[in-house]
């Protein structure tokens, strides 16, 4: 879309408080990200094109597609408030991570309360970061690496898919044994799932110390 590399990154911000939405929007725009703000988890899911009930039916015909192909607008990161009426940020996180189409979109949680158990729960569920409010520019500066990593993964994935199809195509033209190609494919899958595991470990080591909080 834009000329600058950063304008490619689109962040979906979710918060029920209008002031918080305006603030996060400003912070994200200052960092040259494209921003969409919504005021609830269900609106966020709607924006993504994910149905609240079940995403299995939605994705029946596309078993392993790159996350953003089904959306009209690509979302590179979701940043959400934890405490929201109805669907909490944690609920939203779980839904996104359970969805085969969107599980690779990095999710960041924001909260005004410093509750260690809450923080670890979110990180364990797959959140990339946990920001304490008020969110600062220094926090927002931590977002780009997560979005870039996902972009690289996407490119790898598309690359891998292309190779798979390319090989299948070759198979049809050659009267050789099919066993060799299928062995190649399973090795490729193993490599991808190993990378996934590494990334999760990497995220977990990003947990820094959290000051002890008196609110439980």
């Amino acid at each position: 879309m834009g000329v600058a590399a950063d304008s490619q990154f689109h962040v979906l911000a979710v918060d029920d408080s209008i002031i918080d939405r305006k603030l996060i929007e400003r912070l994200l725009k200052t960092s040259s990200f494209q921003v969409t703000t919504v005021d609830s988890g269900s609106k966020a899911l709607e924006f993504l094109g994910l149905h609240e009930e079940d995403d299995e039916i939605h994705n029946l015909n596309q078993p392993s597609v790159s996350p953003n192909i089904n959306q009209e607008v690509e979302v590179n990161l979701i940043i959400t408030d934890y405490c929201m009426p109805g669907m909490t940020g944690y609920d939203l996180l779980k839904k996104v991570k359970k969805s085969s189409s969107f599980k690779d979109i990095p999710v960041v949680i924001m909260s005004s309360e410093n509750v260690p158990s809450r923080i670890s729960r979110c990180l364990e569920e797959g959140a990339e970061e946990f920001f304490l409010k008020p969110v600062r520019l220094s926090d927002v500066n931590k977002l780009k690496p997560h979005m870039m990593r996902t972009k690289i993964k996407e490119i790898d994935h598309i690359d891998h898919q292309y190779n798979q199809e390319h090989e299948k195509h070759q198979e049809q033209n050659v009267l050789e044994t099919k066993e060799d190609e299928s062995t190649q494919q399973s090795n490729g899958n193993k490599r991808k799932s190993m990378e996934d595991g590494d990334l999760t470990r990497q995220n977990k080591t990003q947990i820094q110390w959290w000051p002890y909080c008196r609110f439980d």
Binding site: D16, S17, I18, I19, D20, K22, L23, R26, L27, K29, T30, C83, P85, S112, K133, P134, R136, L137
Partner: protein, 152 residues
Amino acid sequence: MVSATQLQRQYAEYTTSLYHEGYLNDQFTQLQKLQDESDPDFLVGLVSVFIDDSKKLLDTLTTAFQQKTVDYKQVSLHVHRFKGSSSNIGAQRLMRVCVLFINYCKEKNLDGCLWCLQQANHEYILVRSKFKALFKLEKQILKAGGSIPMME
């Protein structure tokens, strides 16, 4: 006519006093830094939304305490939101009242809650007038051809 320099000094003194008295804190400075040519009215706009939103919250809280049975959980959620927005604006005194308020809600302490509500109203009116005065000064400085001094 008062010069830009005089107005700037007045502004700096006023802002410093607001910080000392706890009406504003560092978060407000952070917000000022976020304002630039692409969005020159960001802060005024945000404060305006805060003032409106806070008024609505206070009205909701007043209504909640007029009920026969007070729903402390609901009240707590509203105050929590109020605390969040105050914190985002840098309205420190208001935020502290909210903290106390939440604790009284947890204890279901009616007197404590009512006192906090009264304090919250009071602090709201005060911070609203402080913001008004601050932005009026800013307008005057800009009109006189000067720039807004930043707190460091």
